[in-house]
Symmetry: C2
């Protein structure tokens, strides 16, 4: 005997749930590129992307620019180094820091991946006008800002 809804709460209309399935679809499509072809994790890809843009960088700089926490950055660095895509030295001015750079082969992999992920990005946004793309980015940014503020309020109650 089926009972009716307790309060007509529809998970599939619940906004955070929509964000979750949206994220999962997007992330799965993009991770195919670096994971299957180069066995690179998303954290490793991100660290590489940051270094592809500017180097040398310390681990802490990568943390700041990639929205990954320091433990995962450390692990990503270890993985990329092991794969031969990254080399490290101790920073000359602060011996706590490492100076990280892509190797020659790391740069080649990065360039290959950039071309591929750009193509994928275009496919993800296919069918959206330039206005709609801007709108989507702006609205996501606004919600994210709201979420960050909610989070900050929550932690100030601790």
């Amino acid at each position: 005997m089926k009972k009716g809804p307790l309060d007509a709460f529809q998970l599939e209309s619940f906004f955070p749930y929509l964000v979750r399935i949206y994220y999962r679809a997007v992330s799965q499509s993009v991770s195919n590129i670096y994971e299957r072809e180069y066995n690179i994790t998303v954290s490793e890809w991100r660290a590489m992307a940051v270094l592809g843009n500017e180097q040398p960088l310390s681990a802490g700089e990568i943390v700041k620019r990639s929205s990954i926490d320091k433990v995962r950055v450390s692990r990503a660095i270890a993985g990329l180094t092991k794969a031969g895509y990254l080399e490290r030295r101790v920073d000359e001015n602060d011996r706590r820091k490492v100076a990280l750079q892509l190797t020659r082969s790391g740069q080649l992999v990065f360039q290959d991946l950039v071309a591929k992920v750009r193509q994928l990005e275009e496919e993800l946004l296919a069918g959206l006008s330039e206005d709609e793309r801007d709108q989507l980015r702006n609205l996501m940014a606004k919600v994210r800002k709201n979420a960050t503020e909610i989070e900050a309020r929550y932690h100030s109650e601790d």
Copy 2:
């Protein structure tokens, strides 16, 4: 000596990255509610939400309605049962299936959580007009559909 960008790839403008940080901000703000107050995981919350809407249900039905894979549903069921929020019986017509229902206290927790997550949803969307909310949902759905199709193409190449 800083080197210039290899190909001017900007991670912080890369769409999948934007989706990732958006998702993370949203999910962190909402998980505070059920995790801290009831020690309920996101999968458990989702299973509960589905059952709050309709019951009894089998585990497979929860899988279908919650976008969680069956292993995690099984674990969520075990967790909720252990917490006293869920009870199970063997389905009368198919002894492979379980018939799951919220307990009295499970229903009380569900109702409390519904009120709270609804409030949070409103706060997440604060500052967005009704049009903008619809727009955001529609655009996310469109991108998600694109992503799902990319994924399907990818797997058909396996």
